[in-house]
C-alpha cells in the first residue's frame, strides 16, 4: 500500500490506481516507484494477468516530445504550505493537528472516512484493533502448539526455558513468540483504552495565517487570500456533518472575506454559532490522555486563556512550488520576491517573456473565481497574437448524412455493459441480456465488457448498419458522463443522436445494492424495460444551426470595456463600445496609481488612443441602450447616441456588460459639509493643496457604508487604497500622524506588503466595531475624531487636519439593463454570473458576459483580467460560423395555443414570446436558441399546446408505466 496523495496522505492506495473516483481521464495508472514489477525489479505482473482488455504495458517508456506552439500558458498552481516546518503547531507529532487540505478530505464523501467526521488518531483504530486481535490469536495458537508438544503449561514452559532451555531451538522459538504476544497484548490494551475515549470531534479550532503573513519563521509575508473563506466553509460544513453538534472556533488576525457574497457567508456563519476569536495562536500542546489539543491564547481584553479542542485545523497558506522556480528559470520568465510570476497590473497574465502567459496561483495567491478568470484571460491574451493561424490545426468533425427513420417501425438494439466487473460482480448481466431479448421492438441484444471502449464503439457502428437498428439502448453507467460519446457514435452511424437512450445499471444498481445481487439484477431489468419502452417512442430531432454575427456589443467604455474590445479586436473581431458619458475612461480617470505603484493615467491615455485608432472598434459616446432582442450569435440592439434622436441598430453576436460601479457619497462624518472630509480620489485631487500638504495629522475611516446591514458587502479595494495613501503621506512627511480606523485590514494577497510598510513607517491602526463607530466633530482649526480603542477599551481622541472616507462601492441603475439583457442581479446589486466559482464572467443567458466593477468591486488588475476573460469567452462564440441549437427544446402547437402567456411567465430564459398572428389573436412562439429544454412551459400550459421535445408526456409516462407494470 502507498500513501494516497489525493487524500492528503490520510488514506492508502495501491501501486496501480485511479487518482480519484471521478478522475479524468477515467483510467488507472501505475505508480512505477511503488510497482514491484517496474520500480522494484521484482516479479509480479498480476495486473497484466487480470486485466481483461490487455491494457497493461510494462514496456512503456518516458518519451521526449517536441511541440511547436504559438504561445505557452503556465497554470502550475500552488504548493500548500507545509506546517511540519514549524514546531510550534506540533503538526508533525500530533495526529489530530491537521492541515486544511487534510480536513477537506475528512469532510468529503469520497474521502478516507466517507465524509464521517472522525479524528485522525481514531481513523485507523478499528483496523488496528482487528489486526492486533488476529495477530494475537495466531501467536496464542502457535504457543499452545509448542506447549502441547511438551505437555506443559505456560508457567512450566517458562521455568524450563529459564533453567536450561536457552540452547534448545523449540524453547528459543517459544521465547520469541511469548515476547511477541506480550507486546501485542500491551498494544491491544492501549488500543482498547483509546477506543474507550474515541469520539466524533465535538470541538474543532481553525488557526489562520499558518505560513501566511509570517516573516519570523518563514518568508511568506503575503496573505494567501483564500484561507479565511475556506476555514469558514470548513467550519460550516463540519457543523452540518456533526451528528450531535459541533463547537467550531476560528482564531484569526483579520477576517478577510472580501469577495463576492463572502461577507454575507461570514455573517451567516456567525449567526450559526461559529466562534470567531481575534488572536494568533502560537502553541499547540498535546493532552495525552485523550489525544486532545490545548491552545493557549490571549483574548482581546488581555486575559490568558487555555482551552482544549478535539482537533486543530491549520489554515495553511499557498506557496509557489519549488518546481515553479525551475520552470521559470528554464523558460526565462521573471518571478517576484515571493517567487510568484512577475506581471504588471495592466497586463496581469503576461509574463516578462512575450508569448508566455500565466494564470492562477503561480501569478500570486488567489481564489478559484479569479484563477478561472485569469485562465480565460490568458487564453484571450495568447490568442490575440495567433488569430492569423486560427482553425489551421484543428479539424472540424463531420458526420455522414442522417438516415430518415421516421416512417420505420422501431428496431431497437440493446447493449448491456459489464463495465469490467463494476456491473457484473453484482448484476447477473447474462440474465439481463436474456430478459432484454424478450422486450417488444428489441431486435438485437449484445453483451459488452466495456461498452465505452473504442473497439466497442467501432463495433456499434457496424451492428447498427448490419441489424438496421434505428434506436439504441445502452445499459451501462450514467448518461451524464457517457451519453455524448454514444450519441456521437450514433451520428457516425447516420442516425440522429436523439435516437439514443441509456439505462444506468451501474450507479443505480451494482454500485448501490452491492449486497443484494437478486434485487440489483431485478432492478437492472426494470431499468432496461423502462428505457426500451421510452426508446420506442423517441424521435429524431432537428438541430438547426444559426449563423453567428461575428461582432460584440460592449456596454461601458471604462477600462474593462476598452480592454475587452481591444482583446477582441486583436483577434480580428469587431465591436461597438456604448458609453453613457462623453468620454472613454470611466472611473479609472480618477485613479492615480495601482497598488503596485504603476501610473494609471499614463496607461489610460495610451489605452484610449489605442481604442480610438483601432479599426475593429466603433465607439458611441453619450449613448444609451434603447432596446435589445435576439439570442446568442444573433442579437439586435437599438442605441441612441450623442444626444441625437436618430437611433442606431446594431447587430452583434455577443454582449459584454462592463458598466462599472461608483463610490457612494456618505451621509455621515461631515462629508459634504466640511472641506476637510474627502472620499477616495478627492484626496488625490487635493494632494497638493495647502490643507493636505501642510497637514500634521490625517485620519482614514474604513467601511463607510460597507459591511453594514443596509449594504453588507465588503468593497474590497478600500483597505489597500487607504493603506497606500497613508504610506504616501508618511513618505512625504514622516512626522505626520496618520491613523487608519478600520474593522479588519483586508490587504489580501501580496498587497499585505503595503500594510507591513505602513506599520513600519508608523501609521497607527485603530480598530473599531459597528456598535462604536468613530465620531467626527468639527473643532477650531480642524477635525476631532473620537474612537474607542479596542486594546485600551476606552475612547481616544485624535486631532486631524483632514479625514478620508473609504466609502462603499456600488452599482448605479443596473436594474434596467439587467431587464433588457435578461440577466440577474445579486442581492447587493451587482450583475450575477451563472456560477460564482467556475463561470465567473458568463451569464446563464448564452452570449452575454460581464466584467469589471459591475460584477463586483475590484482593483484595476483584476478588472483587466476579467475583461480579457470576457473577451476570450466571447471569442469562443464569435469564432464559430454557426451555432448548433440543441434539439431538446420546447414547441408550441399554434392551433391549440390560446395566447394566455403562462409559458412566458414561467420560462426563466425568456424563450417563449407572444406573437400577434391576427388582430387580437396571440400565440406563443419559442425562440429555440434561448430554450434550455427544462419543460416548465409544457407543465404550465393549460391547453397542451406547449410541449418539450424528447421529454413529451408520452415519452416520460411510458417509463412510469414500464416501471410499475411488472
Amino acid at each position: 500500500m502507498v500513501i494516497d496523495a489525493y487524500n492528503a496522505g490520510l488514506g492508502e492506495r495501491k501501486a496501480i490506481y485511479k487518482y480519484y473516483a471521478q478522475a479524468i481521464p477515467s483510467a488507472y495508472a501505475i505508480d512505477s516507484d511503488n510497482c514491484r514489477q517496474l520500480g522494484q525489479g521484482k516479479k509480479c505482473g498480476i495486473c497484466a494477468k487480470v486485466c481483461p482488455t490487455g491494457a497493461i504495458d510494462y514496456k512503456q517508456k518516458e518519451q521526449m516530445l517536441d511541440l511547436e506552439v504559438g504561445a505557452v500558458i503556465l497554470s502550475t498552481g500552488f504548493h500548500a504550505f507545509d506546517p511540519g516546518r514549524f514546531d510550534t503547531y506540533n503538526y508533525a507529532g500530533l495526529p489530530n493537528v491537521v492541515t486544511a487540505m487534510e480536513f477537506e478530505r475528512l469532510l468529503s464523501a469520497g474521502g478516507p472516512t466517507s465524509g464521517h467526521l472522525m479524528r485522525p488518531s481514531e481513523l485507523s483504530l478499528k483496523a488496528d484493533l482487528a489486526a492486533a486481535e488476529k495477530g494475537l490469536s495466531k501467536l496464542h495458537k502457535q504457543l499452545k502448539q509448542l506447549e502441547g508438544k511438551y505437555g506443559k503449561t505456560t508457567g512450566e514452559m517458562y521455568d524450563t526455558f529459564q533453567s536450561a532451555g536457552k540452547d534448545d531451538k523449540d524453547l528459543r522459538r517459544w521465547e520469541t513468540l511469548a515476547e511477541q504476544a506480550t507486546e501485542l497484548e500491551n498494544r491491544l490494551r492501549d488500543l482498547k483504552a483509546k477506543q474507550e475515549t474515541a469520539h466524533e470531534p465535538k470541538k474543532i479550532a481553525w488557526l489562520q495565517c499558518v505560513g501566511s503573513r509570517e516573516i519570523n519563521q518563514c518568508d511568506n509575508g503575503y496573505c494567501s487570500g483564500v484561507c479565511c473563506m475556506y476555514a469558514i466553509k470548513e467550519a460550516v460544513i463540519a457543523k452540518e456533518h456533526a451528528k450531535d453538534g459541533l463547537e467550531a472556533a476560528i482564531f484569526f488576525m483579520d477576517m478577510r472575506t472580501y469577495g463576492k457574497e463572502f461577507e454575507q457567508y461570514y455573517n451567516r456563519a456567525q449567526e450559526s454559532g461559529i466562534r470567531f476569536v481575534r488572536s494568533r495562536i502560537h502553541t499547540v500542546e498535546s493532552v495525552p490522555e485523550n489525544d486532545n489539543l490545548r491552545l493557549g491564547y490571549v483574548t482581546e481584553s488581555g486575559d490568558m486563556v487555555s482551552e482544549d479542542f478535539d482537533m486543530v485545523v491549520l489554515s495553511v497558506g499557498l506557496e509557489s512550488s519549488p518546481e515553479m522556480q525551475d520552470l521559470a528559470a528554464a523558460l526565462g520568465i521573471e518571478l517576484d520576491h515571493y517567487n510568484f510570476a512577475a506581471t504588471s497590473s495592466f497586463a496581469p497574465v503576461a509574463t516578462s517573456r512575450p508569448g508566455v502567459f500565466v494564470c492562477g496561483v503561480l501569478q500570486g495567491p488567489k481564489d478559484i473565481p479569479l484563477s478561472v478568470m485569469e485562465a480565460s484571460a490568458a487564453a484571450g491574451a495568447a490568442a490575440s497574437n495567433l488569430s492569423s493561424a486560427r482553425h489551421t490545426l484543428v479539424k472540424e468533425k463531420t458526420f455522414p448524412e442522417e438516415r430518415d427513420v421516421r416512417a420505420e417501425p422501431p428496431r431497437i438494439g440493446v447493449f448491456v455493459c459489464n463495465c469490467g466487473v463494476n456491473i457484473s460482480s453484482v448484476v447477473r448481466v447474462k440474465e439481463v441480456v436474456e430478459y432484454a431479448k424478450s422486450l417488444p421492438n428489441v431486435v438485437y441484444v449484445q453483451e459488452n465488457l466495456f461498452s465505452c471502449s473504442q473497439d466497442a464503439q467501432d463495433k456499434l457502428v457496424e451492428v447498427i448498419k448490419e441489424q438496421d437498428l434505428n434506436r439504441v439502448v445502452v445499459a451501462a453507467c450514467s448518461p451524464r458522463t457517457h451519453e455524448p460519446l454514444f450519441q456521437e457514435t450514433l451520428r457516425n452511424s447516420a442516425l440522429n443522436k436523439y435516437l439514443y437512450e441509456q439505462a444506468n445499471i451501474r450507479d443505480q444498481c451494482s454500485w448501490v445494492h452491492a449486497g443484494d445481487p437478486d434485487a440489483a439484477t431485478e432492478k437492472a431489468k426494470d431499468l432496461v424495460r423502462m428505457s426500451v419502452s421510452r426508446a420506442a417512442l423517441i424521435e429524431p430531432l432537428p438541430m438547426p444551426s444559426v449563423p453567428v454575427t461575428a461582432s460584440a456589443l460592449i456596454v461601458g467604455g471604462g477600462v474593462a470595456g476598452m480592454v475587452s474590445a481591444l482583446t477582441l479586436a486583436k483577434q480580428g473581431f469587431k465591436s461597438t463600445i456604448v458609453e453613457q458619458k462623453d468620454r472613454l475612461g470611466g472611473h479609472a480617470l480618477k485613479l492615480k496609481k495601482t497598488w503596485k505603484g504603476e501610473d494609471v493615467s499614463e496607461f489610460l491615455g495610451k489605452l484610449v488612443e489605442e481604442v480610438k485608432a483601432e479599426a475593429n472598434i466603433d465607439v458611441l459616446l453619450n449613448a444609451e441602450i434603447k432596446d435589445t432582442s435576439g439570442f446568442v450569435g444573433n442579437f439586435k440592439t437599438t442605441v441612441s447616441s450623442n444626444g441625437t434622436e436618430s437611433l442606431k441598430e446594431i447587430e452583434h453576436g455577443v454582449t459584454i456588460l462592463a458598466t462599472g460601479a461608483h463610490s457612494i457619497a456618505p451621509q455621515e462624518y461631515f462629508y459634504g459639509k466640511s472641506e476637510r472630509v474627502f472620499r477616495w480620489h478627492e484626496l488625490d485631487e487635493a494632494w497638493d493643496s495647502d490643507l493636505v500638504k501642510n497637514a500634521s495629522s490625517a485620519v482614514f475611516i474604513q467601511c463607510v457604508g460597507s459591511r453594514e446591514p443596509q449594504r453588507p458587502h465588503c468593497s474590497k479595494i478600500c483597505c489597500t487604497f487607504s493603506v497606500q495613501k497613508a504610506v504616501e503621506l508618511k513618505e512625504r512627511n514622516p512626522d505626520m500622524d496618520v491613523y487608519i480606523l478600520y474593522r479588519d485590514i483586508r490587504t489580501y494577497g501580496e498587497r499585505e506588503d503595503l500594510y507591513k510598510e505602513a506599520r513600519r513607517r508608523g501609521v497607527i491602526f485603530v480598530r473599531f466595531d459597528t456598535d462604536h463607530k468613530p465620531v467626527v466633530e468639527q473643532v477650531e482649526g480642524g477635525l476631532q475624531v473620537t474612537v474607542i480603542d479596542h486594546i485600551l477599551r476606552r475612547p481616544i481622541t485624535l486631532k486631524a487636519d483632514f479625514a478620508t472616507l473609504a466609502s462603499a462601492i456600488e452599482t448605479r441603475d443596473i436594474a434596467g439593463l439587467a431587464q433588457q439583457f435578461k440577466v440577474p442581479v445579486s442581492q447587493d446589486n451587482f450583475f450575477l454570473e451563472v456560477h460564482m466559482k467556475l463561470r465567473p464572467v458568463d451569464f446563464a443567458t448564452d452570449g452575454v458576459f460581464v466584467c469589471g466593477l459591475a460584477h463586483y468591486p475590484k482593483p484595476i488588475d483584476e478588472s483587466i483580467a476579467q475583461a480579457q476573460a470576457a473577451a476570450a469567452r466571447a471569442a469562443t462564440i464569435l469564432a464559430q460560423k454557426s451555432i448548433e441549437v440543441e434539439g431538446v427544446v420546447s414547441t408550441v402547437d399554434e392551433t391549440l395555443c390560446r395566447g394566455c402567456g403562462k409559458c412566458v411567465e414561467v420560462c426563466p430564459y425568456g424563450a417563449p414570446q407572444l406573437v400577434e398572428v391576427a388582430q387580437d389573436v396571440h400565440v406563443s412562439r419559442i425562440q429555440e436558441a434561448l430554450c434550455k429544454g427544462c419543460g416548465a412551459c409544457a407543465v404550465a400550459c393549460p391547453t397542451g399546446a406547449a410541449a418539450i421535445r424528447h421529454f413529451n408526456d408520452r415519452e416520460v409516462l411510458t417509463m412510469v408505466e414500464a416501471a410499475l407494470c411488472e
Partner: protein, 67 residues
C-alpha cells in the same frame, strides 16, 4: 407468513442536480434500498402533477420529485 412490505417508489430526478446526486451516491458506493426507479428529466419543473398521479394510479407507493 406474508412477505414484508416492499414499497415501489418512482423518482423524477433533474439531470443537473438530483440525477447527478444519484450518480455520486453510486460513485461513493453509498448503499440504499433497491425499491426506487429513477426517471431522468431535464428539470424538476418538467414534472407535471399528471405524472405523479399516474404513478400512484399504477400502484406506486411513493413518488419523489427531486431537483
Amino acid at each position: 407468513m406474508t412477505a414484508e412490505f416492499e414499497p415501489k417508489i418512482i423518482a423524477f430526478c433533474c439531470n443537473w442536480c438530483a440525477y447527478a446526486g444519484a450518480d455520486l451516491a453510486g460513485v461513493s458506493r453509498i448503499q440504499y434500498p433497491p425499491n426506487i426507479r429513477v426517471i431522468r428529466v431535464m428539470c424538476s419543473g418538467r414534472v407535471s402533477p399528471d405524472f405523479i398521479l399516474r404513478a400512484f394510479q399504477l400502484g406506486a407507493d411513493g413518488v419523489l420529485v427531486s431537483g
